[in-house]
């Protein structure tokens, strides 16, 4: 047979409060509570506390957690510094590279010659002084040089034209880049959801404002009541002082009216 419930047995009391006791223990505790006022009061008090706990509510937030497989994820956007040349087609970039090389070769006066000794490459504008006697081969080379000059002129014209074409294409690419994002298709559901969230937020703010205003009014009223009470108390003190002064005056009059012996 188990020992009867005593006032100090708080563990059984807690089990009883939460209904996790068997029928025999319940009956035992019930019997004790019917005769022990402090224990009965404690059970009521703790029950009230439990009731008050229900007032504490977590905020009503939107959670919407979802596990998403990696394969379902869209590629993560990678932020890079703006690189305008990425908008230019590859062939145009290659052509630009050729243009730059050609311009560099022109500036450096690159000369490639083939002769009986094989190929020779030379750069620079200073032509070496001909110490050798004038011969047919040299004349032939000069003629070739003139012909090459004419060819170079045509190449230069072509390169200039190419450069202009490149510039115009780059401008077009930049203009395309500058087109606002509105041109991209936007998910209407997302817009609707954002609008709903905005509307809900506005409503919440309005309610919050109403709540704050009421709190403010209530605080003001409380303050006013407290001030009135203080003023009333001050008047009471004045009355008391006046009463005391009157009593004093009466005493003075009474004393002054008594003939001295």
């Amino acid at each position: 047979m188990s020992t009867p419930f005593s006032c100090d047995d708080k563990q059984t009391l807690i089990s009883y409060m939460y209904g996790e006791v068997d029928a025999a223990v319940r009956a035992d505790v019930d019997a004790h509570l019917s005769t022990c006022a402090p224990c009965a009061a404690e059970v009521t008090a703790l029950g009230d506390v439990r009731g008050e706990l229900g007032l504490w509510v977590p905020p009503d937030v939107e959670l919407d957690f979802t596990i998403v497989k990696k394969s379902q994820l869209p590629p993560a956007p990678v932020l890079r510094p703006a690189q305008w040349w990425r908008t230019v087609p590859a062939w145009a970039q290659a052509a630009a590279a050729v243009l730059v090389i050609a311009a560099g070769a022109g500036l450096a006066n690159l000369q490639v010659r083939s002769g009986p000794d094989g190929f020779s490459v030379s750069t620079g504008w200073l032509t070496p002084v001909l110490s050798e006697p004038f011969d047919g081969e040299a004349i032939e080379r000069r003629v070739e040089g003139r012909v090459e000059g004419r060819v170079e002129g045509r190449v230069e014209q072509a390169l200039v034209a190419l450069e202009q074409q490149l510039r115009s294409e780059m401008q077009q690419a930049r203009a395309l880049q500058a087109v606002p994002a509105a041109a991209t298709p936007v998910d209407e559901a997302t817009i609707r959801r954002v609008q709903q969230m905005l509307a809900a937020s506005e409503q919440r703010q309005a309610r919050e404002l109403a709540l704050r205003l009421t709190q403010f009014t209530r605080d003001m009223n409380l303050q006013r009541r407290a001030d009135l009470q203080r003023i009333t108390q001050s008047f009471g003190q004045f009355d008391e002082q006046i009463f005391r002064q009157r009593q004093m005056l009466n005493n003075v009059i009474r004393v002054s009216g008594v003939p001295q012996q």
């Binding site: 506390v49 008050e52 905020p59």
Partner: protein, 195 residues
């Protein structure tokens, strides 16, 4: 017919992510509420809840089903809360959240409640939250698990890793501290315990 937790867990273990997401949908709010009441900060509670489901998803192959899925989730969430409290090295802040909409709460209960009553209720909620802040972590957690999640003493003992008697003592002491706090704030009308 609604699938049970066990069925959804079994499907999730077979690689069905949608089934796991059903479990998330079912348990996200209780887990968030648990985290919120233990650590007291909305943003952090949200992070803890999210991390709880991520960890559960990753650890799912190791879930053998000895405990209920919900108990397993609670355990993960409580461990994360404990880490959070330890990391921050401070007592949980249990402020009245800005987002608590007492008006909506009242609307669910009936349209007769005046704005004055609502303000009073919000005030009482704040006092309760303050009282919970006074409690040691173990007592607060025990009360949260018992009062708001309806766990049995044994389940709480398993989660907190302590004997059954300790859970009961924590509950009794916690409720007693709360009672004194509420009385000091003039929230209770009874005369109990004063005789």
């Amino acid at each position: 017919m609604v699938a049970t937790d066990e069925e959804l867990v079994a499907r999730s273990m077979d690689g069905d992510v949608d089934s796991f997401n059903q479990l998330v949908l079912r348990w996200e709010r209780p887990i968030y509420a648990l985290a919120y009441r233990v650590i007291g900060r909305d943003e952090d509670a949200r992070d803890v809840a999210q991390e709880t489901f991520l960890r559960a998803f990753r650890a799912l192959p190791g879930f053998k089903g000895q405990a209920k899925f919900s108990s397993w989730l609670y355990r993960i969430a409580l461990n994360l809360c404990r880490d959070w409290i330890r990391r921050k090295k401070r007592t949980p802040v249990v402020d009245m959240p800005e987002g608590v909409d007492v008006i909506e709460l009242a609307a669910e209960q009936g349209p007769v409640e005046s704005i004055e009553d609502l303000v009073a209720r919000q005030e009482m909620s704040r006092i309760v939250a303050e009282g919970m802040k006074l409690l040691p972590d173990e007592q607060r957690t025990a009360i949260v698990l018992k009062e708001y999640h309806g766990l049995t003493f044994q389940e709480i003992a398993d989660l907190q890793g302590c004997p059954l008697s300790t859970v009961k003592t924590r509950l009794y002491q916690g409720l007693t501290v709360l009672r004194r706090h509420l009385e000091s704030q003039g929230m209770t009308t009874y005369e109990s315990g004063k005789s």
